[in-house]
Amino acid sequence: MSNYTILNNDVHQNLRVNTSRSAEYGDNIMYTMTFPMEFRDIQSCYPIFFCKDPESGQLYPAALLGFEQDQNLFLSDSGWDATYIPLMVRRHPFLIGFQADPDSGEGATKPVVSIDSDSPRLINDEGTEGEVLFNQDGTPSDFLQTSIGTLESIHRGLEHNKGFIAALLEHELLEPFSLEITLNDGSNNQLMGFYTIAEEKLQSLDGETLAKFNAQGYLQSIYMAIASFARLRPMIDKKNAQLG
């Protein structure tokens, strides 16, 4: 379970973070949320689908990493085997929290950097392994600054996703999708509960909408998501190779 607290250079002065990639640290995930601004990198490694947050039913784009729960085909003994690691994976053990901000008015909040105190990535001993969060003088380390940059990207990405998804839904450009993958050992993996771009609808969009989508950057994202389908085949090959 997660237990987030606001990051503080006093309490967390000596904390270090293990940045290696393995199931032990919770990297064995089947898919992860992604954002249009990283689609270019994502689509070069992973298929992009859309799925629903079970708590809210809201749709979001996701990078597929495996074919079943807890399976990440990009994880090997030597780490994460891909040229790009998704923002939502890199953010750990940090998260954007929100704190009351009375200066900006009643009920206003401001984003703050929070840390999962229960994360297995945290190191609290006297050693030197891992990345420090704060320099001796209490200023953020390069690692923490990079992490804050990641959180800021995610924060913007979440907002961007809202607009992107709303536009896709308004034009009925998403459709449910199920995929049956038969592996070399004859086993079947069925992917259910995912959504993808409705290409027929896309092809029938009028010029005005296309121009609007282009101006908003959505058009490029849509085609990157479609192109990312090609990444399924290498994943299947990877899985078959693991079966031997």
Partner: protein
């Protein structure tokens, strides 16, 4: 005789009026610009600003989902604006013996119902598990007050079948807005002062106090039990069914929750009383609790005592003390016919019967759908459509009355005259008597409801019969398929138990899901 039917006028703006307007307007293009003004279809609803709607029908069938969907209504908006909740069926208490007995009528048919009749196979296990629980996961779900779906399930789709509980006044207002703003229905607020006849006896127009004469080709009477057009004007009599179904009075109360996070029931509760039964309907904002009884068998004083004692024991003493009861009297029955000349009645003007199986709104949906689909092309063929309509709905009323009566005749209660009278053979329709004799030897299945106009599927008969402890005797002869069927039935019972557990673990509470609909809304996909 051959003028086109272009102008439809609905008189009355309760749930029946606006639901009919929505169903018809969603099917026909109103005032479309491509037509000549004289040719285009017009739908007008005239509503009295002075008469309050009665607000019956707070429970729907699953059919309401497709009715709303066809009208182009967002299910999220419907939930948010009509204080709607999920209804998965009915839970009956005290109907069998008057003690703590319970049975359920869920909306989901038994497992693999189209392929195999599980009822005979359940008979051998009837001492161990009740019928509804053995064949469907749904009654276990509503016993736990769970929702029939998740927030990630698309709008109108489900894990298990469902209808709604809703606030009838809010629903009428919600439909009005949708009809006027989205579907092009013209709304006139005026009182009807007279009815002007044409030479052939048709209604030519209705005179109003503030809007002059409103002409029409077809008039739909949604004026409530008074039946302004079909009853008052045309004199079509009411056929009383009080010799079969005795209940004719209702006392209704609206009871707030003790805590705003109290669980919301996801079924209608129906608890038998000395001379009637008490309904309980859970909305997100309040409970609707009422007592429907026979005034020939009970006094108003005693009936209200029973109702208040129910509220005191299921909610709280304080709630009972604070309750205001509203009395509604009705004559159980329906009009001798529903469509006469160029006038057709929908809703309470067509008939009314105790809400034991929430048949009021579904009849409105079906009536409006048939009018929308078979809108007569001209006055010449209207009488033919009218005859079909009358035949169909007389048949449907008979089936509803029989099905409601079934709930009473199976009771073992003899503690009051009401229950004894209910089992008098003279009060039981002949067809029902015949069916009961047949069902003694074979359980109802598809052959029993093979007419598309049947209101209740045979599965509903199974739930009531076996819920009420009716026994169908084992077959006298051995069937060739018996062994294979038995094995299959055994597997299906196990599958149902597994599915029940899986759904119990994955479905949110009714209250939680409704809160999420208010916060996030359903997705269309």
């Amino acid at each position: 005789m051959n003028h086109k039917i272009n102008r439809v006028v609905i008189v009355g703006g309760g749930t029946a009026g606006w639901l009919s307007a929505g169903v018809i307007a969603a099917e026909h293009c109103i005032g479309s610009e491509n037509n000549n003004p004289g040719d285009s279809f017009q739908l007008t609803l005239v509503e009295s600003p002075d008469i309050a709607t009665i607000g019956v029908g707070e429970g729907t069938w699953p059919s309401m989902r497709s009715t709303l969907q066809k009208m182009g209504i967002s299910e999220t908006d419907f939930f948010r604006e009509c204080s709607a909740s999920f209804k998965q069926g009915t839970l009956f208490k005290g109907w069998r013996t008057g003690a703590d007995d319970i049975y359920t009528h869920p909306f989901t048919a038994p497992q693999s119902y189209t392929e195999i009749n599980l009822a005979p196979h359940w008979q051998t296990a009837r001492e161990q598990i009740n019928f509804a629980q053995a064949v469907s996961p749904q009654s276990a779900l509503f016993a736990d007050k769970l929702a029939p779906k998740q927030i990630s399930t698309p709008e109108y789709a489900f894990n298990v079948n469902y209808g709604y509980h809703l606030d009838a006044a809010k629903f009428a207002e919600f439909l009005r807005k949708h009809c006027v703003e989205k579907l092009g229905v013209t709304h006139i607020k005026a009182n009807v002062t007279a009815i002007n006849s044409a030479e052939n006896g048709d209604i030519a127009s209705i005179a109003t106090d503030s809007n002059g004469n409103i002409e029409g080709d077809l008039f739909i009477d949604c004026s409530g039990s008074r039946a302004l057009l079909l009853g008052d004007h045309f004199g079509i009599p009411l056929c009383s069914k009080s010799d079969i179904l005795f209940n004719n009075t209702a006392l209704a109360a609206q009871i707030p929750y003790t805590d705003e996070n109290d669980p919301i029931e996801s079924c209608t509760l129906s608890t038998a009383q000395s001379a009637g039964w008490i309904w309980e309907i859970g909305l997100p904002t309040r409970r609707g609790i009422g007592h429907v009884y026979s005034s020939d068998h009970n006094t108003e004083e005693r009936a209200s005592e029973e109702l208040l004692s129910y509220i005191a024991s299921t909610v709280s003493e304080q709630a009972a003390a604070a309750a205001t009861l509203r009395k509604v009297q009705f004559s159980p029955g329906h009009r001798a016919k529903f469509w006469h000349k160029n006038c057709v009645a929908i809703g309470m003007s067509a008939g009314f019967i105790e809400p034991l199986e929430a048949s009021a709104l579904v009849l409105v949906e079906l009536s409006a759908a048939m009018i929308a689909e078979q809108l007569p092309a001209n006055r010449g063929v209207m009488d033919l459509v009218a005859k079909r309509f009358n035949d169909k709905f007389l048949y449907r009323w008979d089936r509803i009355i029989e099905f409601l009566k079934l709930h009473y005749v199976l009771s073992q209660r003899r503690d009051t005259e009401y229950w004894r009278d209910n089992c008098e053979p003279s009060s039981i329709p002949e067809q029902l008597t015949d069916l009961l004799a047949l069902w003694r030897h074979q359980s109802p299945w598809h052959r029993d409801t093979n007419n598309t106009d049947d209101m209740f599927p045979s599965a509903s008969f199974q739930y009531v019969l076996y819920g009420m402890d009716f026994e169908t005797l084992a077959s006298q002869t051995q069937r060739r398929s018996e062994q294979a069927d038995q094995q299959r039935a055994g597997r299906l019972f196990q599958e149902n138990a597994a599915r029940t557990q899986q759904l119990q673990a994955s479905l949110p509470s009714n209250r939680d899901l409704i809160n999420k609909i208010h916060t996030f809304g359903f997705q269309k996909i």
